[in-house]
Symmetry: C3
């Protein structure tokens, strides 16, 4: 009764790049099934085969789309093996892709309700290749669902989906120790320290450090520091980011995923 109604909108997130027409081909397959479907690209530049990076990028985007959006994500090193193709129904959206953890952070954010294994071959494109399930399984199933095929038609309910482990921050006394999860296109370092965690961590002002260097902030806007100065800020993902105003923090610190970031209570 309380099922998410597809709103006719599909997003795509892949590691296919944009030099080859793979994403365009997925759209061609979908528009052949559902001619008035609207399709939005999230990104096709997930680093090749990096499921964690894809999962974080997907999670960063899904809550900004209208209810009933269908998100198709394909970062799929196991394509052609026994990993299952799945759909996860959440309170806000449907998530479609390989069951390798890619969908799990977004599903957790949107509150999962049920998962199904994609088994109804009537909804696939044929012949189904061994190398391009984005074209042959994920895209056509998404288009059929967007057009009104019932979720119960795609395949049987399964009890769980693969969960991806995202490194969590840990607290030791007056310190909160996190790490860089993702480097965005500006060279900003997105950490696993979220706004809520920081706000409950300390009633005192805090200092933020990366690789032994203290940075400004947390500030409320890039423009509060001069150009070239490293700073920390709660970014658009609601996570603490290390940035350099009008520069690249990744280049400045030689930092990337896994680099430790420390938040410490300031003593009087």
């Amino acid at each position: 009764v309380d099922v998410v109604m597809p709103c006719g909108l599909v997003t795509l997130l892949t590691d296919f790049g944009t030099a080859d027409p793979f994403a365009g081909i997925m759209k061609g397959v979908m528009l052949g099934i559902h001619p008035t479907l609207r399709v939005v690209d999230l990104t096709h530049a997930v680093p090749a085969q990096q499921v964690l990076a894809g999962a974080l990028l997907l999670r960063s985007a899904v809550s900004f789309f209208p209810p009933g959006t269908i998100h198709v994500a394909v970062v799929d090193p196991g394509v052609g093996s026994s990993r299952a193709p799945i759909v996860i129904e959440t309170e806000h959206a449907l998530l479609i892709g390989p069951d390798n953890g890619l969908l799990s952070p977004a599903a957790a954010l949107l509150r999962p309700r049920s998962r199904r294994r994609l088994e109804n071959v009537d909804l696939f494109r044929h012949p189904v290749s061994r190398t391009f399930h984005g074209r042959d399984i994920f895209a056509p199933v998404a288009a059929h669902l967007a057009r009104g095929v019932a979720l119960t038609e795609v395949g049987p309910v399964i009890g769980s989906h693969t969960e991806l482990q995202i490194p969590r921050a840990r607290r030791t006394g007056t310190r909160l120790i996190g790490e860089v999860l993702h480097v965005d296109g500006f060279g900003n370092l997105v950490t696993n320290l979220d706004a809520e965690e920081l706000s409950t961590f300390s009633a005192r002002p805090v200092s933020v450090s990366i690789l032994g260097t203290r940075v400004a902030g947390p500030v409320t806007a890039y423009a509060t520091v001069p150009e070239g100065i490293p700073l920390s800020i709660i970014g658009s993902w609601d996570l603490l980011e290390i940035a350099v105003r009008n520069g690249s923090a990744a280049a400045r610190f030689g930092a990337g995923p896994g680099t430790q970031v420390t938040v410490e209570e300031l003593q009087d």
Copy 2:
């Protein structure tokens, strides 16, 4: 009475890149407000924080869109500071973005009529972040306007907008001295010498030089010179370009924005 009626089309121009889903997120926000909105990407590869480059690229595109198009541009090093978010109404289109000069060359081309400061928070996405006004202010206001919200609703009229200074060519006797404004994706050097200026400059044939080297033309087509030969041509922006047939003029001459280009009357 003579107001531009939005035609349901929004374009996006940003320096966000396409590795992160920022542009997709802006589309998600807009489609949540106006489900049948059409969105066209101009580019998301404006060099980071380079307002002049973004302004020139925006100006190069706006006149090819139908009347009532809403152009959203975000190259915004001052995000979170006091720079105003604005909309400029022109005779042909609406331009939305930060008031840092980014919109001014396009506005001048399309003849500005009025400007307003975006102040009606009912049209924003909440909470409004300090770092991503593209998502929280510019995109939702554009979608509301495209859906039919009156321009008078967005905020109060302001008297002027920030004007960007574009270097102008200067004339000294039989010489017209300009400079490279932009390097396009082929390595063509787009100058500030426009077709009209050239046609009124001299009744005689002219020679075109860059960094002391005379190039062929102005020619009427790339194919009029052999491969690898540098040439000058009135390009698709109606500006003089220095190009190398099937090559990169930027690489050949080591040239870029600011490099001087000289046009001289040929003597008998």
Copy 3:
């Protein structure tokens, strides 16, 4: 009577890149003519001026789009010269672009019926530039056709179009010798050895070699070999590809278009 009816969908394939707004401008021109047109990007990253690469990428995509799709392709080193702008009608789609061979492999795949030279200037954008026929000829003609203008209106029938020569595999005794046609975004090497040719070549198992190194397979899935191991597989284009699981075969072998690939019958 048996004419392909345009379905309101246009695709774009160019070598324009996505740093400049050229593709967006083509969309603006088309949406000015046909406001509800749907446009899908195949790719704008064809290597500059490389007609063969563009032709192969176009051919790889067209059969996945619904009947009546109009494919606009622009890799056009001869723009402004005497090369003709054409439309090729096939049993499945319309192909629009310069008559330099770019359209011919896709046309052959989709079975050509007729070709016309684009001569009706009423369907062009004016003034027609010498450098950007994508904007001034190909895009507007495509939009008019998608909106319902009859194919007979665009210009006179011509007897043939320029055919591109694609290198073909050759057989010598127990060997089939082909070559790399294309390197995709993962570094996979797409060859000119197609699935049908391989299946008819030998009743025995075969071995596949590149630059003197035998690779695994042909396998049925990447996941059948360990990470980092080179393999051969029938890819999504129905062509034999040399790949490295979770790596780049192009980098591993220093291979690219033209590199020889040999398939040999295994002896007892």
